[in-house]
Amino acid sequence: MDNPHFAALGGMTLEVSDAFGEATAVVDPSNIVAACAALKARGFNRISAVTAVDWYPREPRFEIVYHLHALPKNGGKHERLRLKCRVGGESPTIASVTSVWDGANWYEREVFDMYGVTFTGHPDLTRILMPDGWEGYPLRKDFPVHGHKYDYAENK
């Protein structure tokens, strides 16, 4: 529970937990870039993944999940952290952390593609896996598993 990295974040963490030996902190969306920059300065030189969970119909609906990794280049102690931000509303928006780690780029595009969460300040926020003209966000819980009809010829 008393994770030194989260303690260093001070008032930025809203909730802290440690289940299965995995330290998790919930951060206010307005603080995400500051929190990530502070953690990068503490050795978290790598972002392993960014993803989201849709808790429809709960509001705020989306949890944006960041998996951080401290990778010592010459061997040493590896540490992992999880940060979460809750966003919701008509047009869920959060600041991009690509300014902290370039590696967040494609993961944020994937979350945008699959959940329709906008990352402000992202250098190239376009769909990454679905076709450009696709309507809807496939991993949202209210998107049908069977999909919908899509005409590839018309949506070049």
């Binding site: 289940a19 299965f20 790598r46 392993s48 990778l71 280049k73 590696g103 896996l129 679905m130 598993v145």
Partner: protein
């Protein structure tokens, strides 16, 4: 006469010729989606200034099949079959990663025999994947015969998988709670024959390539990128180990009793295509040694955990004991429930860090499964790897990344 020949117009012509040859504008070249060197369907938009690449934009999604969405509709055990199909060259690594993550949520203990079998099969998977990589990578660069040698041994590995699981590729052999089946009859002789003969086969591959002048010219010093940039972009696996980073999930965050095995993590420092090849060659030998250790020290015991709510009961017990019959009925009809929570489980796949982030809401189906796949992370470094390099080196660089597009697109 010499005076007239040396007259001014000749010099003018030279200059105008040089001017005409100088590229005035960039050329956009569309590579793929059906380009053979991408080993799948990947499109790369290249911006060329003459022979030099000044911009590369990968376009993915051609193999997107919505596996993560489908997983939310299957019950926990059924979803194992989808993990095979993510990365079709390292099926058992994906099986293992998913099973470990769900077992962490369930809090069940896996017997030693199942753990060691998992290690053995995961290492055979690494051999399988690296052999396909080596064969196709050498083929891309022009060394055709390596491909046939590699596929000769790969066939043996696939036969072993078939022996264990009944399937050559879509094994689904590692299940939540242990293994799908007990060891098949005569498995140890077959595995022993393979691990005993394999190191000499690796010598054969190295004989074909290590001193081959064309291979060396096309790989040494090609595909360099600063190591900090690689870490920042999320590159993992053999690529990062060829850049001098000593990181292997098997060593640093051991799972499935990898800490009981004796193996080296190869680390090289030149960070070029040749070193990525060398790292994988050393890994082939190490994987073979781990598989051999697992074979020789295989513990006795059960192949499934003692968790009646999760693991199907023995047929004999199911027919004779009321309690087992009820468990059998419940598991077959509705599956089992997993306590609410979330886990992130990393595993070292042949390509790098594969990690499943699984969220359970307490139901009999996964609420959310995110696959952090190594190919996706590694491919993200492609624009940086290509930048300001020659187009002729792009194929060697692409091959050295060893991505599987099923793994990037999911």
């Amino acid at each position: 006469m010499p005076e007239t020949l040396a007259a001014e117009p000749v010099v003018d012509l030279d200059e105008s010729l040089a001017d005409a040859l100088r590229p005035k504008r960039l050329m956009t070249l569309n590579m793929g989606p059906q380009h053979p060197s991408t080993h799948g369907v990947l499109r790369i938009l290249l911006e060329l200034d003459g022979e030099t690449i000044v911009g590369a934009k990968p376009d993915l999604g051609y193999l997107h099949t919505g596996i993560e969405k489908q997983m939310e509709t299957k019950n926990w055990q059924q979803a194992v079959t989808l993990t095979d199909r993510v990365d079709y060259l390292s099926n058992l690594s994906n099986n293992l990663c998913y099973a470990l993550a769900v077992e962490k949520l369930l809090g069940i203990e896996i017997p030693a025999k199942a753990q060691w079998t998992r290690v053995m099969l995961a290492e055979l998977t690494r051999i399988n994947s690296h052999l396909v990589w080596l064969g196709t990578h050498a083929l891309d660069i022009g060394a055709m015969s390596v491909f046939f040698y590699c596929f000769r041994e790969r066939e043996e590995v696939l036969k072993l998988f078939e022996m264990f699981s009944g399937q050559r590729m879509m094994t689904s052999y590692i299940r939540i709670g242990g293994l799908a089946l007990d060891h098949p009859r005569g498995w140890d002789k077959r595995v022993k024959a393979f691990v005993d003969s394999f190191p000499s086969k690796v010598d054969q591959y190295e004989n074909l390539l290590d001193n081959n002048p064309i291979w060396k010219q096309r790989t040494i010093g090609v595909g360099f990128l600063e190591v900090d940039r690689m870490i920042d972009l999320g590159v993992t696996g053999p690529m990062i180990r060829a850049a001098g980073v000593n990181w292997d999930v098997r060593k640093d965050e051991p799972y499935s009793s990898y800490d009981k095995f004796n193996f080296k993590v190869p680390v090289l420092h030149n960070n070029d295509v040749f070193d990525r090849y060398k790292v994988r060659m050393i890994e082939l030998r190490e994987s073979c040694s781990i598989a051999k250790q697992a074979l020789e020290g295989m513990p006795e015991g059960d192949f499934q955990a003692d968790a009646p709510k999760v693991v199907l009961p023995d047929r004999e017990k199911m027919k004779t004991q009321m309690e087992s019959l009820i468990y059998h009925f419940k598991i077959v009809t509705e599956g089992f429930s997993v306590p609410a929570g979330e886990v992130y489980q990393p595993v070292e796949s042949p390509r790098g860090e594969i990690a499943y982030y699984i969220v359970s809401d307490g139901g009999n189906k996964p609420y959310r499964v995110h696959m952090r796949t190594p190919s996706f992370g590694n491919l993200q470094a492609l624009p940086a790897l290509f930048d300001q390099k020659l187009i002729a080196d792009s194929i060697a660089t692409l091959g050295s990344m060893d991505f599987v597009l099923g793994d990037t697109d999911r």
